[in-house]
């Protein structure tokens, strides 16, 4: 498979990158590690006129201790980040999610920002142009209705970032730099809750920083997958316990991580938190395991994870 023709640009700073985006009148994409973008371009899901490579913008690649916050450059490689002492010392949930991301060779290519901004996935969507034309376009491709749930007017694609649920449990914030402004928001506010367009991003905006409160935490990450590596999560659970408060995030069963706070992770509190998530999620048959099974595993995965984390703290 070959991509459609595009121009390739390597700006040296964020301002130049945004300027290039405007120069191509929005028909450009930003390239980070490329492990999500390049397959999408090969499948014809993206046909940009220009690819703007962010990898040469040095400040986007660094990790910095800012006192109250750890600032993570979104272009930091997953593989490098999982070996970073700050991450290991303060954010075990994030460290575990980095370790669980794909496989080491892809971790060396993929970046944390790219992992956060990966597009939502569906077996009926992540297919070649030939396939999609044969089947008829779905909602996410601009068609009339969903192909995974025929007739549905809602998109059910899954947001499969491993690192986003972990960062949500750590109350991470993000910085977005666009043509008009630089804004900072909670990571959870990034999501639209609509799978066909999962991110609330303005045209041309670049994820320029991830900020995580520098507080010691205990935590962990578990993912359901068929194989021991490479696979995207079919369900994921992240949990962090910081300053006497626990946060659980459930991923890969909808367009965003579902985040619930709990005071003390008692048996009942875990049950209530899971109940909150179960009321919001509607997994469908758009990935490789049965949707009812994936839903059934939410309390199992969450319960095991939280108990493991709390046991480990004793």
């Amino acid at each position: 498979m070959i991509t459609s023709k595009f121009e390739f640009r390597s700006p040296k700073d964020v301002e130049e990158a945004v300027r290039l985006y405007r120069e191509f009148q929005g028909e450009a994409v930003y390239l980070s590690g490329g492990t999500d973008l390049v397959p999408r371009m090969k499948l014809g899901l993206e046909k940009p006129k220009a690819v703007i490579d962010l990898k040469r913008i040095v400040p986007l690649t660094t990790v910095e201790d800012q006192g109250d916050w750890i600032r993570i450059g979104p272009l930091a490689r997953i593989f490098d980040l999982k070996q970073n002492d700050l991450v290991g010392d303060y954010f075990p949930a994030l460290e575990a999610s980095l370790e669980a991301t794909s496989c080491e060779s892809l971790q060396m290519r993929g970046t944390i920002g790219g992992n956060l901004l990966q597009n939502s996935r569906c077996l009926f969507y992540n297919q070649s142009e030939f396939w999609r034309r044969s089947k008829g376009f779905c909602l996410k491709m601009g068609g009339e209705s969903c192909n995974a749930v025929p007739g549905a007017k809602t998109c059910f694609a899954n947001y499969c970032s491993d690192n986003a649920p972990a960062l949500c449990t750590l109350s991470a914030e993000i910085e977005l730099s666009g043509p008009d402004e630089v804004r900072r928001l909670n990571l959870e506010e990034l999501y639209t809750n609509k799978a066909d367009k999962p991110f609330d991003l303005q045209p041309g905006e670049i994820l320029t920083a991830i900020f995580v409160p520098k507080k010691k935490s205990i935590g962990g990450y578990e993912k359901l997958r068929v194989r021991g590596a490479i696979d995207y999560p079919l369900l994921s659970a992240a949990f962090s316990f910081v300053d006497g408060t626990g946060k659980l995030a459930i991923g890969a069963v909808g367009p965003k991580p579902y985040v619930v706070e709990m005071k003390q992770p008692s048996h009942d509190a875990i049950g209530e938190a899971v109940e909150v998530v179960l009321k919001q999620v509607r997994p469908v048959g758009n990935t490789v395991l049965d949707p009812d099974y994936r839903k059934r595993m939410i309390p199992v995965l969450a319960g095991r994870l939280i108990n493991k984390v709390m046991e480990g703290a004793k």
Binding site: I2, R227, D290
Partner: protein, 760 residues
């Protein structure tokens, strides 16, 4: 084993390994010929439709396009392995029957132009009702996909031996179960590719293939060209597993394009095309009924097996028979009725698989465990009781000449501590055993045999010329090793010329496990003939009886008088002097019943010999998540005698991955004729981190017919590894498992179903 041989049986680094691990080995997609064009194929977007019109004129006008072909350029010859299954035109004529079917081909100066040209070909279709599963396809009102197959039944294999109903009537215990296994993808690392080069009336071809002579004959028929003008040439092949056995639509398209353009043309399929548009593995549903005596002796078997055949016949009756045969080759049952139906559906084309018959084989094996449990027997004991022994006949009259099931079972059980482990299992742990026997070669008429030529060169080195084909398992290295052993010269003194239809003689190819048993035998015989000639000249030259002479390390030696020796090259040169250069021929035809036919007469000797195997898997099952892990796996394989011990072990280990672990992960998923996982991300081939600790065990039955006692190098493991895992999971869970692969959702469903009723 005592060291009977110099090089046979050693752990030799395969002759092809260095090139492959360093990336210097060339495969079809790597070939570059002067003026070569790039081919692309226009494929059907419909699972079933009439073709009303094809207009290629706009594509032809596109600069850079050198040729466009459609069925109008072909000769109306349809492909099918047998005369009665010739139904596949390879380029659709007036109807398409699956998504991805070849409709037209384009050859252009580069890939982008070829792709652009595809968009310019206008095809008018009239969509037809389609059917996607065999049970629906067999219904009376189902759309008929081929006029000639009533109820869409492509082939019906019926085997009947003994008095089946009477035997069931007298049985102490009868059990009937139904099993279903999703189809699988071969997932060869090398995507399919063809290079065709037509010049001066001759067509040269390179493609991943398992039998160049069979491929050339098929193409000569399809192209209506004399066989001597269609030359299939040797090339490295990156995996086969059954997928490269038959001629591919891409071969025909590329050949026609090269003939039309007058240039070499290369077609390389994408990963998606490789999965959706080349043959893949049948979905199978098997209903198995077994009757036993009180002591566990199997007295009767009855089978109804339905194979989802996809849109065309392909290997038809073979695919619909092999699961049964590899079962009857392992176990004794005097009364049997087998009904195998291969049914046409509007899905991609299906073919043979190295691990063919998952639902059938592990269904049988798990059911045997259920029966053993009801009878209070150890699963090993019931297998030992019913396993075939040397001298016995299978139900359809094949004699077992070596091996038998007992030795592999005992060896595997001993290595795995079967009895102790079974006694000490804790919650969620299980141990299971899978057995099978596999034919080495089967009747293919005069193409069942192999012939080899040998010539000795002036420095005492040898060239061997054989049709043996290597699709990645090490057959080339095997042939060289056999020649080295016989001729008494090191491996590096041997040049191999193989798998080239103009140069080499007939060979059945790298399927039906014939390469070492049949092809290797021909190499051995040719080299023995050459050796006889050498020793004849040596006897005169050395004035010593030929019977007392031998060749060791490039030297003629006396077996009894160490003072007598002479460099072999002197003898070879002497032969040249006398105008009688050393040139020899050897051939081997397996002793099979050539009257045997897959449908009309499924009785008689199926193969020259059979290999036997037993796998033992240990599993742990998480009953809350349904996830299965395989910590330990023992595979005992009776290969007769290993030519290369390390290569056989490698085959066993690969087989554990492709079957034993794949039974937890691999399945093709569909949505109305479209493959949902035509890639290696969502089609779950097990990874290194998913693999168990493997102990391969080589059992040596020293086959009386095989070269140096050899049979085949590992297929029993590929066919029984998943039975072992399924039986182990059944052992751990104690509930029937009827749906494969054993993904965690299916495991929980089985547990839920058992809570509602049937506890086995």
């Amino acid at each position: 084993m005592d060291r009977e041989y110099t090089i046979v049986g050693t752990r030799m680094t395969r002759t092809d390994s260095l090139a492959k691990v360093t990336g210097s080995a060339s495969f079809t997609a790597d070939l570059k010929l002067p003026r070569m064009l790039c081919a692309k194929v226009l494929r059907s977007p419909h699972p079933h439709a009439k073709i009303l019109n094809i207009d290629t004129s706009r594509a032809l006008r596109l600069p850079g396009v050198k040729a466009v072909v459609t069925a109008a350029d072909a000769h109306g010859v349809k492909w099918g392995v047998f005369k009665y299954t010739q139904d596949h035109p390879m380029i659709a004529v007036d109807r398409v029957r699956y998504v991805g079917e070849d409709v037209a081909g384009v050859a252009a100066a580069d890939e982008e132009t070829a792709l652009e040209a595809l968009d310019l070909i206008q095809v008018d279709y009239e969509p037809l009702p389609a059917v996607f599963n065999p049970e629906d396809a067999m219904k009376k009102d189902a759309p008929l996909i081929h006029e000639e197959y009533a109820n869409n039944i492509n082939v019906h294999v019926h085997i009947e031996v003994g008095e089946v109903d009477e035997a069931f009537g007298q049985a102490h215990l009868v059990r009937e179960d139904t099993f279903h296994a999703a189809g699988e993808a071969y997932s060869t690392l090398e995507p399919y590719a063809t290079v065709a080069s037509y010049a001066n009336g001759y067509l040269d071809l390179w493609m991943p293939n398992a039998a160049p002579h069979v491929r050339a004959k098929a193409l000569s028929n399809l192209l209506k060209m004399p066989l001597n003008k269609v030359r299939v040439r040797r090339i490295n092949v990156g995996g086969h597993f059954g997928s490269r056995s038959e001629v591919s639509p891409g071969d025909l398209v590329t050949s026609l394009l090269s003939m039309k353009a007058g240039c070499p043309v290369k077609l390389v399929l994408t990963r998606e095309e490789n999965a959706a548009c080349t043959r893949q593995v049948h979905d199978i549903q098997a209903t198995i009924k077994t009757g036993v005596k009180k002591d566990g002796t199997i007295t009767a078997k009855e089978f109804r097996v339905v194979y989802d055949g996809g849109a065309y016949s392909s290997t038809g009756p073979i695919a619909a028979s092999i699961p049964y045969y590899v079962y009857e080759e392992a176990y004794r049952f005097p009364n049997v009725r087998y009904n195998g139906y291969r049914v046409i559906t509007n899905k991609g084309i299906r073919g043979m698989y190295g691990a063919h018959g998952r639902a059938f084989l592990c269904g049988n094996e798990m059911q045997l465990d259920m029966i053993a449990r009801e009878l209070g027997m150890d699963p090993m004991e019931i297998r030992l009781k019913n396993g075939l022994k040397v001298g016995e006949e299978t139900a359809t009259k094949s004699v077992i000449i070596s091996g038998g099931l007992e030795e592999p079972i005992r060896r595997a059980a001993e290595q795995a501590n079967w009895t102790e482990k079974r006694a000490g299992l804790t919650e969620g742990e299980g141990i299971g055993m899978g057995c099978v026997a596999v034919m080495c070669g089967f009747p293919m008429g005069f193409r069942s045999g192999s012939a080899c030529y040998v010539k000795l060169n002036d420095d005492g080195q040898a060239t061997i010329v054989t049709g043996i084909c290597d699709t990645g398992m090490g057959n080339e290295s095997m042939a060289i090793q056999i020649a080295s052993e016989v001729l008494g010269i090191p491996v590096e003194d041997i040049s191999l010329v193989n798998a080239d239809t103009v140069v080499t003689n007939l060979d059945p190819g790298a399927y039906s496990q014939a390469a070492s048993f049949v092809g290797g035998n021909a190499v051995k015989r040719a080299c023995e003939d050459a050796k006889r000639q050498i020793l004849g000249f040596a006897a005169t030259k050395m004035n010593h009886p030929a019977e007392d002479l031998d060749i060791r390390d490039r030297t003629i030696i006396s077996k009894t008088d160490p003072s007598k020796s002479m460099p072999m090259r002197w003898i070879v040169r002497e032969a040249f002097f006398q105008g009688k250069p050393i040139a020899a021929t050897g051939a081997y035809m397996p002793k099979v019943d050539f009257q045997r036919e897959w449908i009309k007469k499924p009785y008689g000797q199926m193969a020259g010999t059979f290999s036997f195997g037993c796998s033992v898997a240990e599993v742990t099952v998480d009953k809350e998540t349904g996830q299965i892990r395989i910590p330990h796996f023992v595979a005992a394989h009776d290969c007769g005698n290993p030519i290369n011990t390390m290569a056989v072990e490698g085959q066993i280990e690969g087989s554990v991955q492709q079957a034993g672990v794949a039974v937890l992960t691999e399945e093709t998923r569909w949505t109305e004729g479209l493959l949902l996982n035509p890639d290696l991300l969502e089609y779950k081939v097990p990874l290194a981190c998913d693999m168990p600790e493997i102990e391969p065990l080589i059992v040596c039955s020293n086959d009386p017919e095989g070269p140096f006692g050899a049979k085949e190098g590992g297929l029993t493991t590929r066919m029984n590894a998943y039975s072992a895992v399924v039986c182990a999971a059944h052992n751990a869970l104690g509930v029937p498992l009827n749906e494969f692969p054993l993904t965690p959702d299916r495991v929980l469903k089985a547990l839920d179903a058992a809570k509602g009723g049937d506890k086995s």
